[in-house]
Symmetry: C2
Subunit: 472 residues, 2 copies
């Protein structure tokens, strides 16, 4: 089971996983297939380009028994691609326990030729006491070990959680433990959260949402779901939506309608994953996650988690072909900005420039060193360290003002004009450090509202700093 | 030529226009058809659901001459739906003048059975002196009058502009002049700007972008265009994208590839218009425009224009079925918020409550009057006017705290926590007015950061106002 990474951005990876039944690319949405009463034809899934599906080994065992071992899971669900099998952990969560033991489930998954097997876990669910949760996790680990002994190959890490603080902590812990392995998030199939979970480093995620929603006449779209009867227009050009009007679809009998809505939902999820993948290739996943978050305040709240998620930086390319777009204070925490501030914190001004620091607001001319403003400033202050600055990136010494992304970012004018010091703690810290490390005695500023606020905050900590106003 | 409006939100309208060759719905994207060398088959456009196209009467006249009058424009372009004809104004802009006069063009458009004719205009272009621009506009008006005399029916207003201050002023002027007529914006066919121009009240817009982009191998997607060779994945599930891989499409010969990319671009534009229409029905056009603006800082800058655009309110329903989502200070200018503040400005506290105003921060419980907090506050301050408040909506007197949208909005926690008085001038004005109109002598506040800043600003104007701190 090899995992080869081709592109990355934030903690997202475009990778390729090879199995006995062919290869598939990640990030991947894996539709859940019911081994007995599947509504959407698995052949249709193949046609749609789904190269991997997941089905439930426990249900298969209960329904087919040993017949399943003779036929194999691929024959049972009539699908020739990669088949991942879940183990019954969800049933444990729902019914308390199942009547099989981990070894049996492991052996069974091997016997039915599962391409990716999952150990029978004991899910903690939510709100369990620490002691009990610990006991459950220990049991899952034991099960996993036994499963590995049985099928003799490490395969997947199992995470169960919503996208909240706990989820991010869990993903972070998992990534720390197995940085080079693909990570699977169970039960995630909502177009609103897909960009975020991929950005956090989930390579695979499965869901039956496409059909569960369809059963309730819920139609997936880029920003969530709508009841079919609330639609006047299909906001989609997939083959299913092109072949019906909303009214025609509503007039179908329940079974046919469910299947057709499920088909659309699959097209939609596939489109969302393709968008995310192209966004990774383009190096614009941060922008896309931010834009997507404007679909719902709850998703926006979840983005706070990105601030300190250590893994975002590892996958983000050092240089990008396009300018970064920055709109919101949260953007100061994007990996490219963090990296730039770190670079500046290691920058040392030449000794003869260490008396005076000149801070000049960013111009539209990039890089700053190519501007005539700089020529004039240098003439006027030949022994000063000249810097420009951006609320998002911090201090930009003119000497490195061409380094990505100092000269490669675009910010709405209003955002620049209205920036307030208190929203940019990274800026204050970055300037503070720059002053200390280089031992400046004077700072010369142009009176813009943002830098005045910053200097005010800094002056309370550095009463000796002499602040001069630069006359234009 | 009837225009019947069925839904509206902001200044956007879903309407139906009846013509000699059938009806079409607005807002509508109208593909430009070349009367001589059209690349995408017009029958394909019919299949895609385009019920109206636009072609150039001037080019038709030059190429076909009187043959066009015998055959009619529908036969010439092989299309049975509604055909709008442009008049040559674009050619005037490009080449300085055309060799036909307005009457000839008007008669010709009538003779070829154009469903929607456009008078030969004298476009001002951009950067013309006021005097010259005035002269051109006068000439266009004369032409329009002559055209009307010739074809004897008022049909369209012509606007030519980009989406900037000028464009919005022009749209506003046009809407003021003809509020009940459909408005056509010439030359607008970019998925990034469609939601904004529709929100501003453009009912129809045409473009040849789908094929012009295709000729340069530019592929349209929700946030703009990409060069085909930069794509690794199609972020789309339209029939064209489903039938090729990127590589296969790149390997086609130029002519076939151009046609296929143009087909995709048309699917894409059609999808964007469908999304916008469903968004109008859902009453979420403001949210969608805001989200879309996060695709590019330049679009975000253009949104400043929405602040004072008077027509947004007329089309916005008084009540909406879903909670408003608010993220950004710009949201204080949405029509629902303006309306609510206006309602509050007409609210008068009962006389016995006019000594003291209690301002209590918004709770998660909506409406505020159903909270136990209110019960306790009322017990404690039986003779006070109790209000809650939101940076976006202003003061919310408990008596009307269930009125839309006071109890029907969702704001990310971070946005509420970090709101700063200076970003919400409408709030300061609304509180100021509330204090004056009701003659409060005391205001009692809970010390949250936002209201402290507000009160500080107000106190400088009202030194007599007694500010008390409410102990929790």
């Amino acid at each position: 089971l090899s995992f080869e990474v081709r592109h990355s951005d934030l903690a997202a990876r475009i990778g390729k996983i090879e199995t006995m039944h062919g290869a598939f690319e990640t990030p991947v949405f894996i539709p859940v297939i019911h081994p007995v009463k599947q509504i959407v034809d698995t052949k249709f899934l193949e046609k749609l380009g789904f190269k991997i599906v997941i089905t439930n080994a426990y249900t298969t065992l209960k329904y087919y028994g040993t017949e399943a071992c003779e036929r194999g899971i691929h024959d049972i669900i009539n699908y020739n691609g990669v088949v991942m099998t879940d183990s019954g952990g969800y049933q444990v969560l729902r019914y308390g326990s199942v009547e099989v033991n981990p070894q049996t489930m492991a052996a069974f998954q091997k016997d039915i030729s599962s391409d990716i097997a999952v150990p029978l876990d004991k899910p903690t669910g939510y709100g369990l006491s620490y002691e009990l949760a610990k006991e459950y996790v220990q049991q899952t680990l034991n099960n996993a070990r036994e499963t590995l002994d049985t099928i003799n190959e490490a395969r997947e890490e199992k995470i169960e959680s919503q996208v909240d603080d706990n989820c991010v902590d869990t993903i972070a812990a998992t990534k720390r433990a197995i940085p080079t392995k693909p990570i699977h998030l169970f039960g995630a199939g909502h177009p609103l959260t897909i960009p975020l979970i991929v950005a956090l480093g989930c390579d695979m995620f499965d869901s039956a949402s496409y059909v569960l929603y369809a059963k309730e006449d819920r139609y997936l779209h880029a920003n969530g779901t709508s009841k079919l009867q609330d639609l006047s227009y299909f906001p989609c050009q997939c083959p299913t939506c092109l072949s019906y009007t909303v009214k025609e679809l509503l007039d179908l009998d329940k079974e046919k309608r469910t299947a057709e809505v499920a088909n659309h939902n699959l097209y939609m999820l596939q489109a969302e994953v393709s968008i995310v993948k192209q966004t990774i290739v383009d190096g614009r996943l941060w922008e896309y996650v931010m834009q997507k978050a404007h679909a719902h305040p709850k998703v926006m709240e979840a983005l706070e988690l990105l601030k300190n998620f250590e893994f975002l930086e590892y996958g983000t390319p050092l240089f990008k072909g396009k300018a970064l777009f920055m709109f919101d204070p949260l953007d100061q925490y994007r990996p490219e900005a963090k990296r730039f501030r770190r670079m500046v914190s290691n920058f040392r001004s030449p000794k003869y420039k260490r008396k005076r620091l000149v801070l000049y607001p960013e111009l539209d001319i990039h890089p700053f060193y190519s501007s005539t403003t700089l020529v004039n400033l240098t003439k006027k202050f030949p022994d000063a360290q000249i810097c420009t600055y951006s609320p998002f990136l911090g201090i930009i010494p003119v000497e490195i003002s061409d380094i990505f992304p100092a000269a490669h970012n675009l910010i709405p004018r209003k955002t620049l004009t209205n920036s307030q010091a208190k929203d940019y703690p990274t800026f204050i810290e970055s300037l503070n450090r720059f002053l200390i490390e280089n031992g400046f005695e004077e700072v010369m500023i142009v009176e813009d509202h943002f830098i005045l606020e910053v200097i005010e905050k800094i002056s309370t900590q550095k009463p000796n700093l002499k602040v001069l106003r630069l006359q234009e």
